[in-house]
Subunit: 323 residues, 2 copies
Amino acid sequence: MTPATSLFTPVEADLRLLADNLKQLVGNRHPILFAAAEHLFGAGGKRIRPAIVLLISRATMLEQDITPRHRRLAEITEMIHTASLVHDDVVDESDVRRGVPTVHSLFGNRIAILAGDFLFAQSSWYLANLDNLEVVKLLSEVIMDLATGEIQQGLNRFDTSISIETYLQKSYYKTASLIANSSKAAGLLSEVSRETVEHLYSYGRHFGIAFQIVDDILDFTSTTDTLGKPVGSDLKSGNLTAPVLFALAQKPSLEVLIEREFAQEGDLEQALALIQDSQGIQQARELAAHHAKLAIEHLAVLPPSESHQALINIAEYTLSRLY
Amino acid sequence: MTPATSLFTPVEADLRLLADNLKQLVGNRHPILFAAAEHLFGAGGKRIRPAIVLLISRATMLEQDITPRHRRLAEITEMIHTASLVHDDVVDESDVRRGVPTVHSLFGNRIAILAGDFLFAQSSWYLANLDNLEVVKLLSEVIMDLATGEIQQGLNRFDTSISIETYLQKSYYKTASLIANSSKAAGLLSEVSRETVEHLYSYGRHFGIAFQIVDDILDFTSTTDTLGKPVGSDLKSGNLTAPVLFALAQKPSLEVLIEREFAQEGDLEQALALIQDSQGIQQARELAAHHAKLAIEHLAVLPPSESHQALINIAEYTLSRLY
């Protein structure tokens, strides 16, 4: 077992059930999607989003077992995430994700677009059948945020004038919104107090931002093997993340390289060297640590439990991936 | 004014308001989508779907004015339809629709996929905010049906063994489901009886099927100018519609041409001639007339009114397009 999955011990059995259910839910209505579903929900996804929903469900239902609606919420969360990945891969023309071929490279654009549409549609349908209008609204907002984040990222490509605030907002749309709103929804299904619900939202929001910053740092500090894609891919495609934005303030020559979109031989390598030579990565680490700390503070509202502790550990583990 | 729009007289002012609102709703959150929205909701769409929702709303609210929720439902209906067109155009790589360049040809695949996702997401969000769980469920089912229909159509390309029943089922998914379920939803918002709600659903279902059959016949009998795309486009792409399926029973040589996917010079022209020479188009006309008649019968449940009459006229007009 990898360090990442052992963090999920309190919901390990729940996650196994979820993986089986997801394959069935998607494959059942569409034999053609069955292959895609096997591929999507079988591939070594980290399942961190449904794990958090299930852990919050367990941490807020200490006296009873979690309900089928909690489980369905976790499934919906993973479905929405997967749908957005499938479309992102078409949009970005990525052939590989986490070292595994993408749906669009395996089955073509047509199936990838339709599979994404179907997953979004199916998640909306299951959502409506949770029979809780507030939860429906929260998760519909997430689907809108995902499209908004992707559009913003597209618009800001190679734009060296964007601020850290703009970057954080985009990170909220693309990553934190789903975790924050599904955390909040899990609390709503457990019928916890309004105050607790808002703390769960904030846990998800800060954790999601920390998670995204860490991911963005790893694009510079990890290896091609671990990433399953070339180091510096984000930078190359013009997606300017925290380390780059911090580095830009210290290395004026970086701006020129980015603005000409690495048109000249050696531009990308030079840019990567400038970032490594700056405080950018360190400052990004501190920003991630700040958000992880805030996330953990918002958990104080929950009574002590194994699941509560797991939620803390996940936030800490996220940072530890950097070292 | 064209004959088609004069049919909408009782809701003409409503439709003008709807067009303005749609441009604002979509453009507001996203400047980038503003251009796409202008293009989508400005282009000479027939707006038949929101017109039916508005007419049913008026026909079931004779004593009072229709509510903002009825209007929002009509907007959502057009948004869902537009989202599916945008993705269909990417999937089918169409450059022109109704003589107007498609979003994907104007703005590229990236924006087209994201604009479609955003429209689907936004319609789910507005849907949730109608605060009626039954309506949310009905329209979520529609979004799933649209993806299902498109997948089925893709799978059945050039398959000469499909039955008229399979064709009708696909037509329900692709076209009739949206009209049927939004007609039903309009009745629910007006709080009519369960019995009336089901008749409204059946009106929409039969009308939608008739509408699709007529569209499929026009692909053979209209002109390139009127269609805004070449005559026989469906057949060429392997989409076997009612006239083809009926013709196949009478012209065995048609099967060979289709199964080799018109690989040889003159195959498509020969196939078109065989269909023209068969009873296929006439039999498809009769099938459309049958469904239009059933649609009108289901309206008998509504009290007489100008809007009720308009709903009858629209079903009759749909058939008249064939002559």
